[in-house]
């Protein structure tokens, strides 16, 4: 579980995060949504410890991150998996080497044990025949799946994804969404996804935090987002005609 209390972050005069508080529960897929520039990525990088907030606390399983020693921070980071927007695969390594990298860095497993684990996770993301390919030879969807495999290879307690569907076609995006949700359920991980893809919100948003101008404007789930009258949310979520109609049908059905 990750608990965030009154988080503030600025860059110079720009106040990006303005007092965000929320809780991300274990075994649930949580989505942080909002327009571009609403502070989603800064929020995620604060959770990852890449940015240091000026005010507020982030607790991992009840322990406040800012009180951690360097060793505790390093141990915590070894328990985190991250899927970057651009996949961030190491382009000098093959796909198998990319996935094996966290194991080489943080475990004392033998090469055959590492190889078995890599085979297992690559099978899990349906990439059993891509071991020796270089990242540049893989499609966008494949690169995202490799990034997920690398993020989960070390059995993380926390999985962070920054816009995992960006640049993917709708079909591949659904595959990636489902994969993340299955992995979250299967391994009981705390998963946090930054997204502005409304399909993801509706499909896998067990918890949704809506950010606007650095504030938390709304919090709920994919079940309650249809019912909300919050103007910020409706203005963002139902900006497309398709979603307006979907919402209309949902509300009519309920009446």
């Amino acid at each position: 579980m990750i608990e965030v209390k009154d988080l503030h972050k600025s860059f110079g005069d720009a106040h990006i995060l303005k007092g965000i508080s929320t809780v991300f529960e274990k075994g649930k897929t949580s989505l942080v949504i909002g327009q571009s520039g609403s502070g989603k990525t800064v929020f995620l990088k604060c959770l990852l410890g890449l940015f240091h907030p000026e005010k507020g606390t982030i607790s991992y399983d009840g322990k406040i991150y800012s009180n951690f020693s360097d060793d505790e921070k390093r141990n915590l980071r070894a328990e985190m998996g991250m899927v970057f927007q651009g996949s961030a695969l190491f382009d000098s390594m093959t796909i198998a080497e990319n996935v094996m990298f966290p194991l080489r860095m943080f475990t004392k497993q033998s090469k055959s044990e590492m190889q078995d684990r890599v085979n297992f996770v690559l099978n899990r993301v349906n990439l059993s025949d891509a071991h020796n390919k270089m990242p540049s030879e893989a499609s966008g969807g494949m690169q995202k799946r490799v990034a997920i495999a690398r993020a989960i290879v070390n059995n993380p307690k926390y999985l962070f994804c920054d816009e995992p569907n960006s640049g993917l076609d709708p079909k591949t995006a659904i595959v990636i969404d489902n994969l993340i949700q299955e992995i979250t359920d299967e391994y009981n991980i705390t998963t946090i996804i930054n997204s502005h893809d409304m399909n993801s919100v509706m499909e896998i948003g067990e918890k949704i935090v809506f950010l606007k101008d650095g504030h938390k404007a709304w919090e709920g789930s994919n079940k309650t987002i249809f019912k909300t009258d919050n103007e910020a949310v409706t203005g963002f979520v139902y900006s497309s005609e398709l979603f307006k109609k979907v919402r209309q049908m949902y509300l009519e059905e309920r009446q």
């Binding site: 890449l50 921070k73 390093r74 980071r77 927007q85 651009g86 961030a88 382009d91 860095m105």
Partner: protein, 245 residues
């Protein structure tokens, strides 16, 4: 203020380079890869330039010695002194600032742009140690490159001297052996080690702390070349003043 900030950040990076070391089994691979990229990958261009510049130094010296009272063996002597004291350690280092320096800046800068450095940091890896330390270790073999440059520079000079008809082989060898001071070799290698440190760390600094996209990677490579060259020239002056005067 920006200069002071950059200098401070550079020294903090040097300190960080020796902290939280990466697992040895991984580091070993990185060091061998960097030795291949930075040292062996540079031998071809260094050999080519050394041989021909050594030849040019000899021809120009020979052409400027037209007084019949000056012995012909001085061509070999002047070639040896020029190549060992300045050409091999300094001139080759400026070329390496362009070749190796821009390679280091652009490879680390591209990793920054594509979030690969963020990925390392998220995993709890000391990215500076992981990326810069192997380059630093690899560059400690740089004196090996400079030794080859010295040898080929003098060899090129000898070839130009004999085939250009400026003096005989015996005269040239006599000149090369004349008044040989071993401290000059020490001086050349002290400079080489200092330049190796600059060649590994200044380009790494510009790559690691760059901001922006692909265009900025190019700009960072250019800036890194300029500042590495400036620092090589400045420290060359200081070390010469300290060690030879």
């Amino acid at each position: 203020m920006t200069y002071l900030h950059n200098i401070g950040t550079y020294f903090l990076m040097i300190k960080e380079m020796f902290r939280k070391p990466t697992k040895w089994s991984v580091m070993k691979t990185l060091i061998f890869k960097d030795i291949d990229d930075l040292i062996f990958g540079s031998l071809g261009i260094v050999a080519f330039i050394s041989f021909f510049v050594g030849g040019v130094v000899t021809i120009q010296t020979a052409l400027n010695i037209d007084n019949p009272l000056i012995p012909k063996y001085l061509v070999g002597f002047a070639t040896r002194q020029s190549v060992i004291l300045e050409f091999a350690p300094t001139f080759i280092s400026i070329i390496m600032a362009g070749k190796v320096g821009s390679f280091i800046t652009s490879s680390i800068g591209t990793m920054r742009v594509t979030e690969q450095i963020d990925a390392l940091e998220v995993m709890g890896i000391n990215a500076i140690n992981y990326l810069v330390f192997p380059k630093f270790v690899a560059m400690m073999l740089y004196p090996f490159v400079i030794s080859i440059a010295m040898f080929l520079g003098i060899l090129g000079g000898m070839a130009a001297c004999i085939y250009g008809g400026f003096s005989t082989l015996e005269d040239f060898i006599t000149g090369v052996q004349l008044d040989f001071n071993t401290f000059h070799i020490t001086y050349a290698f002290v400079k080489t080690f200092v330049f190796a440190f600059l060649l590994a760390t200044i380009p790494s600094y510009y790559g690691y702390f760059m901001k922006g996209g692909a265009l900025e990677v190019g700009k960072a490579s250019t800036t890194s070349f300029v500042w590495t060259s400036v620092m090589i020239i400045l420290l060359n002056y200081l070390l010469t003043q300290l060690m030879l005067s």
